[in-house]
């Protein structure tokens, strides 16, 4: 218990203890035989409470559980009463001041308190614009290539992972699912490049659940390794709509603010074709919140210009970036742009990387 007690409560406690004294004495008489130890402890406490409270008294020093509990509840009630009084006073003051009242305080959230990341991208940054004009995605963003995605798994996938891959293939247009059959990634990458694939997605599986995603942009593009969590397949969704159609969905990328986030955002954006078909009214969302990227797939309908209804189809999952590597998949000798280092990055609760 904190020792910072308001003086008011002290008096109350004193009063309470005085009231309790007769009770104490009767109880102690009963317990004389059983707990002789308690008595000497109780008596000095009683004496202390009778006269004046030593400032270091706290409720936790009372050995008897019932009494301690009782005191604690009283203490809490006092506290909440005080709080209420303070609140009321403040409200009155605010009303009294009327317009001149100070603005309401905004509650602190983790997003508010986020440590400013110096790599936050400024929308008008020229350097970044130049970078993006010449990086590996420039071909896509200039409309030269169309995305073609190859989805595969780790060895011997279980049913859940297979179904997840199939559903992903319906979400991403122009996606093909192939079985892995023990092939080495480094060997299939040149084959993919030869067949004009732009993306390679490998869903890693552990204990019958998909738990990792390797997203490799193909003609020597960056490779990102994510951890997948909370996968929900289509049949597990509540109130879901019909299966997604073949129309290309729109893409929403939220909160990718830092430089790293920017590159990851482009990575996701290049998965989908450049011109979405609005007729399909489907939207794929990648929402970044506190370094977790939530993926959702919805169908929307505009009821009027102020309201839109969305209905979730499609699988949902969350990703957490583990590493970003420059070339194509090469875990041993690759050049890593960014690696999640838990001890460093988890130390501060207000610091996020994406």
């Amino acid at each position: 218990m904190d020792i910072t007690e308001v003086p008011v409560s002290n008096d109350n406690k004193g009063k309470k203890n005085e009231y309790k004294k007769p009770k104490n004495k009767s109880v102690t008489k009963e317990r004389n035989a059983v707990e002789p130890k308690l008595e000497p402890k109780l008596e000095p406490k009683l004496e202390a409470s009778e006269t004046a409270f030593p400032p270091t008294f706290s409720v936790s020093e009372i050995k008897n559980k019932q009494r301690r509990h009782h005191m604690f509840m009283k203490f809490k009630q006092e506290k909440s009463k005080l709080k209420l009084q303070v609140k009321k006073k403040k409200k009155k003051e605010r009303e009294a001041l009327g317009d001149k009242a100070p603005p309401k305080e905004v509650p602190k959230t983790i997003e508010n308190q986020r440590v400013y990341d110096e790599t936050t991208v400024d929308p008008e940054d020229e350097e970044i614009a130049f970078d993006e004009g010449t990086d590996e995605f420039s071909a896509y963003f200039n409309g030269l290539t169309n995305p073609k995605v190859l989805i595969t798994t780790s060895d011997r996938p279980r049913g859940r992972t297979v179904r997840f891959c199939e559903q992903l293939a319906t979400v991403v247009p122009n996606a093909h699912v192939y079985y892995r059959r023990g092939l080495a990634l480094k060997k299939i990458i040149p084959q993919c490049v030869a067949r004009n694939f732009t993306y390679l997605m490998v869903i890693n599986e552990d204990r019958k659940m998909p738990n990792g995603l390797v997203l490799c942009h193909l003609p020597d593009g960056p490779t990102a390794h994510f951890k997948i969590s909370s996968v929900r397949l289509r049949k597990e969704m509540k109130r879901r709509g019909k299966d997604p159609t073949e129309h290309s969905p729109e893409v929403i990328l939220n909160n990718f603010t830092t430089r790293l986030g920017h590159s990851i955002g482009r990575l996701f954006a290049a998965l989908f074709p450049q011109d979405p078909q609005f007729v399909g009214r489907q939207v794929a969302t990648f929402h970044n919140q506190r370094d977790f990227i939530f993926f959702r797939f919805h169908r929307y309908i505009f009821k009027n210009e102020k309201k839109v209804g969305i209905q979730e189809l499609g699988p949902r999952f969350t990703l957490k970036l583990r590493s970003l590597q420059k070339g194509t998949f090469d875990s041993k000798f690759g050049e890593y742009e960014w690696v999640l280092k838990r001890h460093e990055m988890d130390a501060c609760r207000r610091k996020f990387q994406i």
Binding site: I110, A184, S229, N254, V283, Q289, K303, E305, V308, D346
Partner: protein
């Protein structure tokens, strides 16, 4: 004196042997020098003074031999012979070293050597293939991350964010002309601005928008309207803000065009009335009178008179 039978009598079945592992069907021998791994009279290295084994160290196979002459010198008891890497040569070596030894030991040595070389080959092959790297998970960290994810999900308010984004895109016009709403949005925004400015200044903004309104009103050519109604419109041009009129025009347009869904019409009508009520409520000083007159005339003109009560509840 070394007496094998006595030793076996003791450790074999009757008393304790620390290398013995008993299972339901069989007993095994954990002694490193045991050649078969089973606990037998002939395989026990303790109860056989003349014994031989094959053991492997870092990919190299050695033949160990024990003879009774050295039974008194434990440090020198086992003779170690390095076997050749070549399989056949090694077998010949074994034969050579164990010449005149009991058949059983010779045979078992060769068997063991064969097995060892086979598993060494398999190890070498496996290293070349793809290796599965096991990454240990820390339970605490996983639990923490799970909790963080839950909190992040709550903080994200995904549905709201998505809806907001979609509405933003609609406003910005990325959807082009697919939906007929966009004009409404634009007009509404305009109208709100106008009302704010109306409270401050009078008339100036109206005139500007009157011009716009005049431009827009050309598009209206509805069957519903009669000439008298048209004239009403023109009057209302002067009276009300043209943004309202624009809305009305466009709404009529759209309602005329899209007669497929009644809902939309109703909604639009509701909105129309809503905006009127809004207009009237917002513009405090300026044009309540105008608004009311407009509304009255509007009621006569359009069929949507019936839907008035519903939106009132909405507007308030």
């Amino acid at each position: 004196m070394q007496c094998d039978d006595v030793i076996w009598d003791i450790i074999g079945n009757k008393q304790f042997c620390s290398f013995k592992v008993k299972t339901k069907s069989q007993s095994f021998c954990r002694n490193e020098y045991n050649i078969t791994g089973l606990c037998n009279r002939s395989s026990c290295p303790l109860s056989n003074s003349q014994y031989a084994t094959i053991r492997e160290e870092k990919g190299q196979c050695f033949l160990y031999m024990k003879v009774i002459e050295r039974a008194a010198f434990p440090a020198r008891m086992w003779e170690k012979v390095k076997l050749s890497r070549n399989y056949e040569k090694a077998l010949e070596q074994i034969d050579e070293s164990l010449i005149y030894w009991p058949r059983f030991l010779r045979h078992k040595c060769k068997q063991r050597f064969t097995k060892i070389t086979q598993y060494l080959i398999r190890m070498r092959k496996l290293v070349l293939k793809r290796q599965r790297k096991l990454v240990p998970l820390s339970r605490k960290v996983e639990r923490r991350e799970k909790r963080k994810e839950e909190k992040a999900l709550i903080a994200a308010q995904l549905d709201n964010a998505i809806e907001k984004e979609l509405l933003e895109r609609l406003k910005q016009g990325t959807y082009g002309d697919i939906y007929n709403f966009p004009v409404h949005a634009f007009d509404k925004a305009l109208e709100q601005q106008d009302e704010e400015s109306e409270e401050e200044e009078e008339g100036e903004d109206e005139e500007e928008e009157d011009d716009e309104g005049v431009g827009k009103s050309e598009f209206v050519a509805e069957e519903e309207l009669e000439e008298s109604d048209l004239s009403d419109f023109e009057e209302m041009n002067k009276l009300k803000t043209s943004s309202d009129e624009e809305e009305q025009d466009d709404e009529e347009e759209s309602s005329g065009e899209e007669e497929e869904e009644e809902e939309e019409e109703e909604e639009e009508d509701e909105m129309k009335v809503e905006t009127k009520t809004k207009a009237t409520s917002k513009s405090k000083g300026k044009s309540p009178a105008n608004g009311s007159t407009a509304r009255k005339k509007r009621a006569y003109v359009e069929i949507e008179y019936e839907t008035e009560p519903a939106p009132k509840s909405r507007a308030t």
